[in-house]
């Protein structure tokens, strides 16, 4: 049974391991995955704990449906207090790790302490060992995984690892599994590094009993047909996420030269079709790969087509890498994007944060806030491809003043650079924005401002807002499972009803993250994909647990509130640009200069933005300061947190 998977508490300082079952009442309240992680984080960390100290709990999990007969239950979630933001640290990744951990008997790990020397955790069929990692310390993310397999003499082992960036405590070091599946954001790799924890390796052959196997099988088939029939997923399955690039860039939604433009010119070279063209000779016509049990198969494969790394195998690049190493830095050349993507994967650092901070440093260089003396002679101007790739290496190994400062994250670096460097930093809560430009899309601006882990597009983004769906269709989606009779607008530049859409999406994404399902299998890029109404059946057939859509909504709302409680405890205040629900002044003050006619000249209206935040708080049951009202906590059963149930 999925429900008999355990939670393990591992103390790396003492070597102690404690295994417990996950009680049903905890499941009914927090389900699993990210939601239960948030509960564990709030309950197992002290206010103000040092993100890189031994007391910061590193929590690793699969969802309640991980490895069951539901579609795309591949996701691994990792949580801790973030060394990048000082607030919620949270990342989510595909691949094959969480299913292997579930077959090995576990759904959640809570890892505390610090190992005396480099170590890794090996979990196999209910057993947990802490092993020596001296031999793999210093290795890249893939070399580490293959070396662990060789050491354990088992090629089926799946590992979650850090690269050199995590060891060097780069504040945005990620955790990786496979070639490119990355828990990229909020620096969870640095937390692992701070614990001397190089990897978590899993191997499992334990049955997960399916409650109603025939029904689960048949429903999964229906589910998959629904998912693969959506055109957006067919396109994803051919081109990967880079398929979004062309359309987004043409209307003016791509942040370029840090924040100077909202469109990258001469960018055809990094379109997925162009990348396919130059990589064709090596990879052939079938070049996509999939995460566990997923029929969307959005992960492209390629070999680097030219340059010193020619012939090296890699996966991606994702849309994020196109922006990070192409658009933001104004280096829209395929080789730069492909090599940049490869380097961050090997070093184990977040592509988004890396590219975004490099482009910020480039603007500071242009503005004279940092000089060539600070960069040790590196010409850090926009459009310099070599400088982009050089900076990735320097940040990972903390070489030189500028790169070392950037490795600490944007806000600490802005203090090192001084002057008005902070004004140019495009971030929320200390985490850099995706290369998407939200000046023309108030709903998306609200999403990044209020996302629980800092600026982010995967926590509450109503991406379908860009499709201009008829109001009737929007109402059908956004009025279920909880009735909503307020306004909704099909216009992506409008402010009306957007707060509700962001609130709805926040709960929808929390839902899939608790289940352990990929967001491409819900209302994210596809408007017709399954959500609250469909999940009760999948849950029932696989686990035997009965929920109504409304109950699942309540769980999602509760879990989001737990994340909010954690952030409030760690210092979130509404209008604080460094730690609050606020976006950089440039969103309000600098109009879009490129793109579609209805986009040029747009900014976010400060007054309307404030009203949106008010509305959003109202939907969430928060007061004007962004703190939960007593009756909200009571309604969600959170009035006694931390409650230490687990």
């Amino acid at each position: 049974m999925a429900l008999d998977r355990k939670i393990a508490y591992i103390n790396l300082t003492t070597g102690e391991v404690e295994v417990k079952p996950i009680p049903l009442d905890v499941r009914r309240k927090f389900l699993g995955g990210r939601g239960l992680d948030a509960y564990l984080l709030l309950n197992h960390s002290e206010k103000g704990c040092d993100p890189l100290g031994p007391d910061n709990p590193l929590i690793v999990s699969g969802g309640i449906l991980t490895a069951t007969c539901a579609s795309a239950t591949a996701r691994t979630h990792v949580m801790a207090k973030s060394p990048l933001t000082g607030l919620l640290g949270s990342c989510n990744m595909g691949g094959f790790f969480a299913p292997e951990m579930a077959w090995a008997g576990f759904h959640h790990l809570v890892i505390k302490g610090k190992a005396e020397k480099p170590s890794y955790i090996y979990i196999h069929d209910g057993e947990i060992e802490i092993r020596d990692a001296e031999n793999v310390w210093g290795k890249t993310t893939t070399d580490t995984q293959w070396a662990i397999r060789d050491e354990l003499n088992d090629q089926e082992v799946k590992s979650l690892v850090i690269g050199p960036a995590g060891e060097n405590l780069v504040a945005f070091a990620n955790v990786m599994t496979g070639i490119k599946n990355a828990g990229g954001r909020t620096g969870m790799g640095a937390v692992m590094g701070s614990k001397n924890l190089k990897a978590i390796a899993c191997r499992g052959t334990m049955d997960i009993k399916i409650a109603h196997p025939i029904e689960a099988l048949e429903y999964n088939k229906r589910f998959i047909d629904q998912i693969t029939s959506a055109k957006v997923n067919k396109t994803q399955g051919t081109l990967g996420t880079p398929f979004i690039w062309g359309a987004t860039n043409s209307w003016g939604g791509v942040r370029t030269r840090n924040f100077q433009y909202n469109q990258c010119e001469y960018a055809d070279d990094i379109e997925p079709e162009a990348i396919d063209e130059i990589c064709e000779d090596t990879m052939g016509p079938y070049h996509m790969s999939g995460c566990f049990g997923c029929q969307v198969h959005c992960r492209a494969q390629y070999r680097i087509p030219s340059g010193p790394l020619k012939g090296t195998y890699e996966e991606g690049p994702e849309y994020t890498s196109q922006g990070a190493f192409g658009g933001e830095t104004d280096t829209p050349r395929a080789e730069t994007v492909l090599v940049g993507n490869h380097l961050v994967d090997q070093y184990g650092m977040d592509n988004l944060e890396t590219g975004s901070l490099i482009s910020w440093a480039m603007e500071l260089y242009e503005e004279g806030i940092i000089s060539s003396k600070d960069t040790d002679g590196l010409d850090l101007r926009f459009g310099n491809d070599e400088a982009v790739l050089e900076m990735i290496e320097r940040i990972c190994f903390r070489k030189g003043k500028v790169a070392d400062a950037l490795a600490n994250g944007g806000i600490p670096a802005s203090k090192t650079f001084g002057k008005n460097a902070f004004d140019y930093l495009i971030q929320v809560k200390g985490m850099s924005n995706l290369h998407s430009d939200e000046r023309a899309t108030p709903a998306l601006a609200l999403n990044i401002a209020t996302s629980s882990r800092g600026s982010d597009h995967l926590r509450s983004r109503p991406a379908i807002d860009l499709y201009h769906l008829p109001e009737k269709v929007l109402r059908k989606i956004y009025s279920s499972p909880i009735p909503y009779e307020g306004p909704l607008s099909s216009e992506h530049t409008a402010y009306i009803g957007k707060a509700w859409q962001v609130f709805w999406q926040e709960n929808c994404y929390m839902g899939v993250d608790c289940l352990g399902i990929c967001k491409y299998h819900t209302t994210f890029l596809g408007a017709t994909l399954p959500n609250f109404e469909d999940w009760p059946k999948v849950l029932y057939y696989n686990t035997g647990l009965e929920f109504t859509p409304e109950e699942l909504w309540d769980i999602a709302e509760r879990c989001n509130m737990i994340e909010r409680l954690f952030n409030l405890r760690e210092g979130l205040t509404r209008d604080d640009l460094a730690k609050g629900d606020m976006i950089n002044h440039r969103y309000f003050d600098e109009p879009c200069r490129r793109g579609a006619p209805d986009v040029v000249g747009l900014t976010i209206d400060r007054g309307k933005f404030t009203v949106m935040i008010d509305e959003f708080y109202e939907h969430k049951g928060l007061d004007k300061k962004g703190k939960p009202k007593a009756k909200t906590l009571k309604r969600l059963g959170l009035e006694n947190e931390p409650s230490h149930m687990l």
Partner: protein, 166 residues
Amino acid sequence: MENKNKVLMINPEKCTGCRLCELVCAVKHDGVSNPARSRIRVMKWEMDGVYIPMACQQCQDAPCMGVCPANAISRNDELNVMEIDYDKCIGCRSCVAVCPFGAMGFNSIDRKVFKCDLCDGDPQCVRFCEVEAIEYIDADDVAILKKQEAAAKLHATSHKVALKEA
């Protein structure tokens, strides 16, 4: 019978490595999720991006049948499938050792050998594989399809050569 001459045809080039086939195989046969129980397994060369599903080939001159000391393995001509008679099987695992494809498994929980039974003519791995990396087709068609694929590659190569020369 329509299944009499049908075989699993595997197209590794199309496989995305998602292992959904392993999942549905174990759920269908054992009601559990566990790749260790799957009759089909995807072998991977991750650093090359190559994934190859491996399953029983239902050999004409099947080594598993030949080696079995208990005569527990026989051919079902109706389904064109090699079958295990568990009443006769003594669990010696000779068949596991002799299979050139590693397609005979041994389940250490139930202490039994197991293999692909083509789901009685409706293989679930095929049904769920949207990219058609596994197909269930007439054996006579396999060769012609392979010929077409090989010819298409030759055609593409000669087309490229022609373009280069031009």
